[in-house]
């Protein structure tokens, strides 16, 4: 399951979706908005996406992960729009029979999302704003 949503991420629904009778391990990674980046206080984050491509790139990553690990269920949920401190920006959930696969696949998915999925994050500070990672 891959989604890009404007509403808050519902962890309980995601967890219910991930459970199956064969699953012995579920690894759930949550990316949360922190209150500072290199010591500079962050007020909020604004996420923008090239929607159709963001979804298709996340699906590609999920498909690559399924080729590498015996994944029973997965959930990839990314927020867009304005997020306050403490809100979840992304949830990656992977259910497998054994735990090493769940950890490895979950980590692969979030690491790869950060490299290839066309989603952009602007940090809004109390004294300015900046698109993350845009400048050399």
């Amino acid at each position: 399951m891959v989604t890009l949503i404007a509403e808050p991420i519902d962890v309980t629904s995601a967890l219910n979706y991930l459970q199956s009778e064969q699953a012995g391990a579920i690894d759930l990674f949550l990316g949360v908005v922190r209150d500072n980046t290199q010591e500079r206080p962050v007020d909020r984050l604004e996420y923008e996406a090239y929607d159709r491509m963001a979804v298709s790139e996340m699906q590609k990553i999920a498909d690559q992960a399924r080729q590498q690990w015996p994944i029973l269920r997965y959930a990839i949920i990314h927020r867009k729009g304005t997020l306050q401190i403490g809100e979840m920006a992304v949830l990656i959930g992977v259910a497998t029979a054994h735990r090493a696969d769940a950890f490895d696949a979950c980590r692969y998915i979030i690491d790869t999302i950060k490299k290839t999925v066309p989603i952009w994050k602007k940090e809004v500070f109390t004294n300015g704003e900046e698109w993350v990672n845009a400048h050399p």
Partner: protein, 82 residues
């Protein structure tokens, strides 16, 4: 014969140009590299961005890919999701 092609902009490139899409004039059979060169000429501020990729119809494109006026083309600045 030149044709005009529309390019979707996101994130910092949208902020720099003040537009969510720009129109670029390209010769027939122009490639992704030609488009990038033209964009840099039209918007010199793009030079300050760490990397720029082009997506064609929702897929990352190689620099030698030839563009068609019916393609959905997007300029992709460094991503920062997650």
């Amino acid at each position: 014969m030149d044709s005009s092609i529309s390019v979707l902009l996101f994130g910092i490139t949208r902020d720099l140009t003040g537009q969510s899409a720009v129109s670029v004039s390209l010769h027939k059979n122009a490639s992704v590299a030609d488009l990038l060169a033209q964009l840099h000429q039209q918007f010199p501020a793009l030079m300050n961005i760490r990397s720029l990729l082009i997506a064609v119809n929702g897929e990352y494109a190689e620099t030698n890919q030839v563009l068609s006026p019916t393609d959905e083309i997007a300029l992709i600045p460094p991503v920062s999701g997650g």
